[in-house]
Symmetry: C2
């Protein structure tokens, strides 16, 4: 097929927004799966969580103290304490065995159910509790109360936290520690969440060798499989590493075949204009592939297609540039958001902040520039400093960065001192 | 031992900073372990990463084009192209088979090594490459060059990215996608990182039942094991769930014993002043335990100790309050930072931002208040809104929050409209 050249691959020049919209349109939230609570952290709740009971289930004490009738201690004061008869005690986890009536009290611990008849709690500090202990007084069948309390004092009503049938968490909420705690409080040991996407990752190229192997002259290590797999994990996907496909029909067909049992196939290299056609041809045999020029730097060349997976399933394919910085920047713009959409998250892109730019960003050819920067905070303002040379083959510049400063496509330069928008790669989108 | 009361447990009133300093002093970075690259994401590099070779290893082409001697095309222009003899071709991953001399060229692809003799690259767009293709001209043994180029044009020198022996990543760096890519580029398939801490988590209380089980009247579900385990994971630790210990000697001794094969033991409930002494007593049998009152709300009662683990190992013990909001807030202040320190991270606490407070925070008793808020960004400023009632038994208020707004201990109220510091629970500390 090689002699056909590029003519069977449609190509077009797209803005970042156009590329984003076209790619994201192919992704949908994945199926619901039931998972043990602790294995669902970071996934998104698929159903509203409705409380099966009141929380707390019974009115209970907010203090360590005595359950009383407020009317019994109406006249109590430090000068003339009211002495009540202690008819029992109740701890958290117990059910009250004793009733409270006029002139009587039940000793009660925080969280314990309020005994029938009682309508208020008096804390130990407002009784002679500690004095009796200190004085070695062992008579436990009475207590002197030194204050009057209102009806309901230190009583947590049943259902105060959550009423039975109340929607406590909405479908679409990502599960963090607090949400997991709320689900546990309702007795849910398992939870329905949207499944995590499986993302196949294939590096292509005769020159690549795997880290850990020896690297003969003319070869280079496969970087992209590892950086993209890490980024897939961080975005919430499950990477499936296919290794390296060689630039021949058999190797490519085999590896791409293995990769279609997934929710997305990411390839690196082999799909820009200047490349040999072999990768493009094998992809085209499996479905549709479009080669795009996206108005961005780095990562102008991008491929996107839909391939036929097993059982007629459509598998979106994202073809990233071979250059490691370009591949990672393009992944963060398009691949990460696709994974977040499949996970059921609502915010797909990294949050941006505004920072004072400390070095100029030059824009020679009308593309949107994503410059690697370190953002720091000084005197209440964010400052963005370039992480050295912005050549797209310097992955070390990406290692030092915590954000990508954006020079718009219509500006020839963003000058030092100007305010620049910075995409914060380390911030969760949920923050804003 | 119950009759001893609290007298054998020293108690003191501490500021948040004092509690933080005392707790963190007991933790150190853990041992180094060697891990496969992709399993080390999120851990911290234990050794400087030094490049074993130049990257790129050979001078290579930054363009698809022709490798030439710049002097051969000195007089080339669109009007009078210079025709060179094409003596061979080289792709990325190949070693050059042919030499370039005066008047000759080698066809070269991006990333391919520059052939001996060549000192510059001319891109396809500055030759008749595409014209020849378009016209079906099959003569591939010559190329017309339309521009003069400088020596070194589009040649990436060997070592441009990284020189052999150069320190590329410093020990102490957390591994993200870019760092993993940099390590892969140097051929490292495995990497030395600091081990992740194992954190045992034990809920205590006769009233607790596990989620998924039925909950008889007077009982409540065990929330803390699940919310704290999720928070431990998020902080980078490996939770080890011990389940629930009942308030009796045998159950507590057994569970605490199981939990000492870890880098930290976290218990919830059972260690504040009002609680029965059984948990405190069993902990004291195993080592040292201090009961603190920390000047904070929620989470005033806190226990900290050091227990004897197997082989005489010292296991720090953090005793959190039983209340789920208090437990989670205290964990985030003290437990999360302890885990981060063991992981080798330098920044231990959550980053704070300044926001306009939209609801007042009241401070009745001179404690530092951590109020659950949702921070949003409007008109370039952060705004912090309370997530409803701040009662410490409303875990749902924590579920909606993305930050904790801080009212200092010496202010009776932080008013709506004032600027408040907010600890951002969802932000990685590495950001600033």
């Amino acid at each position: 097929m090689k002699e056909h050249g590029h003519h069977h691959h449609p190509e077009s020049m797209l803005s970042v927004e156009q590329a984003f919209a076209r790619i994201l349109a192919f992704f949908n939230v994945l199926e619901v799966e039931e998972r043990p609570l602790l294995e669902a952290v970071g996934q998104v709740l698929a159903d509203d969580a409705v409380s099966p009971f009141d929380i707390p289930p019974l009115a209970n004490s907010a203090l360590d103290g005595y359950a009383v009738q407020a009317s019994s201690v109406r006249d109590a004061s430090p000068a003339s304490p009211v002495v009540l008869k202690v008819v029992g005690s109740v701890s958290a986890g117990e059910l009250p065995r004793d009733k409270v009536g006029p002139g009587t009290a039940v000793r009660i611990m925080t969280g314990a159910p309020v005994p029938p008849g009682a309508d208020a709690i008096v804390g130990f500090e407002d009784t002679d509790e500690t004095d009796r202990k200190r004085n070695g007084k062992v008579r436990m069948d009475e207590v002197a109360v030194r204050v009057a309390v209102e009806t309901g004092n230190a009583v947590r009503p049943a259902g105060q936290d959550v009423a039975k049938g109340e929607r406590v968490l909405e479908a679409g909420v990502p599960l963090r520690a607090a949400e997991v705690g709320v689900l546990a409080s309702m007795g849910f040991a398992r939870v329905n969440v949207f499944r995590r996407p499986i993302v196949s990752i294939l590096a292509t190229g005769d020159e690549l060798v795997q880290p850990g192997e020896s690297c003969p002259p003319g070869s280079i290590y496969n970087i992209n499989s590892f950086s993209i797999a890490s980024a897939v994990q961080r975005a919430g996907g499950v990477p499936k590493l296919l290794g390296i496909a060689r630039d021949n029909l058999e190797s490519l067909q085999q590896k791409i075949g293995e990769g279609l049992d997934a929710d997305m196939l990411i390839t690196t290299a082999g799909v820009s204009k200047g490349d040999y056609d072999i990768v493009k041809d094998v992809l085209a045999q499996r479905g549709k592939i479009e080669l795009w020029s996206v108005r961005m730097r780095p990562a102008k060349p991008l491929a996107f297609g839909v391939l036929r997976g097993p059982q007629g399933r459509q598998v979106p394919h994202l073809g990233l540039p071979g250059n490691p910085v370009s591949a990672l920047v393009a992944f963060e713009q398009f691949g990460g958001p696709a994974i977040r959409k499949m996970l059921g998250l609502k915010l797909l892109q990294y949050p941006t902040i505004e920072a004072v730019l400390e070095d100029p960003i030059h824009n020679a050819d009308g593309r949107r520039v994503y410059a690697r920067v370190v953002v720091t905070k000084r005197d209440g303002a964010y400052h963005a400093r370039l992480t050295g040379h912005q050549s797209s083959n310097l992955l070390t510049s990406m290692a030092r960065a915590n954000g990508l400063a954006i020079c718009p496509e219509d500006l020839p330069v963003k000058k030092a001192g100007e305010i620049v928008k910075v995409q914060m790669l380390d911030w969760p989108a949920e923050v804003f």
